[in-house]
Symmetry: D2
Subunit: 305 residues, 4 copies
């Protein structure tokens, strides 16, 4: 159902899309229409509200998938194992940075939301081979979104995989210290999880399942409560790349962005939100998407602080 | 009033004090008894509860004062001016680090909770001279704590001022780029605010005034609501030095620690908490204090996530 | 011919081999006898002198090959092209460091003696395919050493290639900025040049051809004079990893070391020197080899300073 | 005596002064005429040759003084003590960088030619108080230059001392680790040694005394041979800031520059050279001065490589 306030806010922030730039280093992403802007929200009563282009657009998860793989790795191994291999601290560095790793001996990625940490996490997802492991990630995404149709976009996958030089560099760096076992398999899993295609409504339902402490929209406890709480914390401290601090102050909602232009947001106890607008700011977050969420947070008093 | 659960948790975590070490680089701090552990809580109905040594100990704010000076600088100048001079992003680096500053041109401290950022903030507190500016900081602390007796501990001030080589190094670094005007005056203000002496109950009331969005225990709106919200966000993303991420996950309460062993915590809408235990972990946070707060957060479900 | 002083110095410094450690991260190297120590010198009159194990040992070039590939890339493309892609400055960082690259935009390896720079240089060596390019490097080594028998040790190559994670990480990092075209081909060339097997006498003759400003022992001008001078400069400023400064002070001879334990030294106008002793110090230089060369430099007044 | 080749080279390189910029961060330096260019050379037979403005200009040593204070500290304490407090390695970082220090525990300046290392060295110069220590430095400069008239320019000293924020920052950083005892006294000595005023001829004679392994123009052994050799090594590996590598390749002469535009050069066994031209390149070296020295090195075959 279209919601008047959401429509109004989309109209207000549509011009902000002009201040951003579509990611151009992944060819499959670079062809997206920069003026798109859509939002979906879903509340515990399962009511879905739309604004703007939400009903008609789909996009790939990209870094938003780091939240999913973290959930699954934690369910597979528990906190202790996962956090023995990746840290919990935010970092003021770009998501693809290597130098803090170089300063440590042995290196340990600072958190699961930067690429180094996310690849270690992906390498922890259980399964026999790439297909099985990606299948398990897909199953979780489908359960959280209550949508069995969700698939990997193979074209986006191939486009990214061919040019994943920096991620391959990071992965081989970690391999030297045995922090990743099979680099190419890990990259296959990681780039595929990034290429999972969703809609704003899917994201909103995923956000709600975290907001409901692991219960999906259908009421099933698909993720342990403690893990749902934990990933929301990471979304606050490092979900929006190295603009997470400012986002926490201006918006105050646990959220995770991807370079496709998607934003997953989860208001504890209250609501899941999915946003899409592919024109990015210089930190890699959706320009209009962030501002739309800020306006919504103020209008509906959604800040957790 | 002593509270059974608080007493029980103090008893449970008193042994943790043995895992920590009293800060030894400030001689006035190094003489503290490492086995001390106390907690005070205060709720909107003004009921104060104690556990352990809370009623009998006092200590200096140290880095906790960064919250106070940030509030005052924001009240003096507004967000735009303050954040043109200091950033909003957490950093994976130690509190006294210089190298991220060196990488930027011009340097801008990443956030107001690291020393570089805190000194810039202190330099922004209005007033004619050191005495006037420290007086204004004291007035704010007293109002937030509803305690007109709070004072600067001059002995601690002198001890720290004489050995403030690293902070002086940071301040002169910033001076080169005109980000601090008068280095020695700024240091005088900064080190004095660190030496403000409080009790656990004072901290709890300060925490409550932030938890009540700027209203003190007496109900007066002493801080604008938006500023009270903003500083709590910083407390989550960077209040516990470079262990803030882990603290957010394990405890989930906006908090700020100091090397004296104090912790100021503020549970939005619910409660202010003051803790003291001078034996520190290797990140500079009170060892037993953090664990006590974690147990309390679980027992009373205080996490914001 | 065995030389009394060389024998004496070998005897004096043989015990120093106990202070070092054979490189263990390359399995083919880790099996070397740590107590070996040999030296060969050759003067413009072609007289070869030996000390210690020189006549009986052979070893792979490893980083010493960076001198050879730099010579060939300069002969293939000229200074301007080569130094548009790699810098001329020494660095205080380890040879496999990435972080200075990350600080630059676009990254440019600081010099051709660190791994990042050496791989860019190897990618510049002309030839159609790995075999041809390695063949050209081998031809140059054979001409400089006046020894057509010199070959690549395929076992060492395979052993290193399989575990070249860090170099692969560096190469993919550079690939992202188009500074290396074909990563796997470059690695094949680079690791093969490292696995060229030589003797102390080979190294001494190679050193003499540089000392004679590009003329080999047979008198042929196989390298342009300006290039022979240029690579000796790099040997002084960055030939001994991040111990080059100390080596310049203590020894004062252009030299290049490898983790196999070899040292190539070239005394301008006077002499070529080849040393082998596989027990390394913590910077990756031959422990006894460096000390032997220091004693020899003092005895024969070989410092260029 | 004016020398035709020197005059010719000055004429050739005078236009290069337009590519540079006079240092503007020290007000006393910013007023220098950017078009000045002068050179003096002196050979063991004491014959002094001039070119350009050499006979009429004077200027302050600035970083060239780091060579003098290193000589004196080595004469005062010996190599072992000095190099326990400052390293011998070149660094790819700017002269006023702090971040490598921060990475070490405890920090040790990488070499005596960067500011951090030079201040540690100045703090080692013996003497009772600033005046005595500066007096001893002046005595050494006068002996090396065979010119008892050389003095500190007090106006330049005061101008630099007032704005020495970055050096003060570095000094307090080192003070925290007890690597400098009295910060303000060390800064007084350091900034005064930078303000010693000389001519091109003075520099040439200083260079000759190093070229003659410590014997001054008058034949007196004023510096031990080993120390004269040692400082020339530093001049090659780190004498020209972070352009030292390129300078070694292009020019091949031990040299030390200062931001005043002076260059001290010393050709082992052959010649001392003093150059002045205040327009600097972006690394802080005299633009025309470096090019003039490069032309002279080629013309007279002065490279040590």
């Amino acid at each position: 159902m279209r919601h008047p306030l959401l429509e109004e806010l989309v109209a207000k922030h549509r011009p902000d899309t002009k201040d951003g730039k579509v990611a151009d280093y992944i060819s499959a992403l670079s062809r997206q229409d920069p003026s798109l802007l859509g939002i979906a929200t879903v509340t515990p009563n399962q009511k879905v509200m739309y604004g703007g282009d939400a009903p008609t657009v789909s996009f790939t998860l990209q870094s938003i998938s780091k939240v999913i793989s973290l959930v699954l790795a934690l369910m597979d191994h528990g906190e202790e194992t996962v956090f023995s291999q990746v840290g919990m601290e935010p970092t003021g560095d770009p998501f693809n940075s290597l130098y803090k790793l170089e300063m440590m001996s042995p290196p340990k990625p600072l958190n699961p939301m930067i690429n180094a940490g996310a690849m270690v996490v992906s390498s922890l997802v259980k399964g026999s081979g790439v297909e099985d492991r990606v299948g398990r990630l897909l199953d979780l995404v489908r359960a959280m979104a209550d949508n069995p149709e969700i698939e990997v976009d193979e074209e986006v996958f191939r486009s990214e995989y061919e040019t994943a030089h920096r991620n391959r560099s990071i992965a081989y760096f970690l391999k030297e210290y045995d922090q990743i076992d099979d680099v190419e398999e890990t990259l296959q899993v990681y780039v595929r999880q990034c290429a999972i295609r969703v809609t704003c409504e899917d994201l909103a339902r995923i956000g709600l399942s975290l907001a409901q402490y692991g219960r999906s929209v259908t009421g099933e406890q698909i993720i342990p409560q403690s893990i749902a709480r934990l990933v929301k914390t990471f979304m606050v401290t490092c979900g929006m790349y190295n603009a997470s601090g400012e986002f926490a102050i201006r918006v105050g909602i646990p959220a995770k962005s991807g370079v496709s232009g998607g934003i997953l947001a989860s208001v504890p106890g209250k609501m899941g939100i999915g946003i899409f607008s592919p024109a990015l700011d210089d930190k890699g977050n959706s320009r209009a998407g962030v501002r739309l969420l800020q306006s919504l947070s103020q209008a509906w008093q959604l800040s957790i602080f």
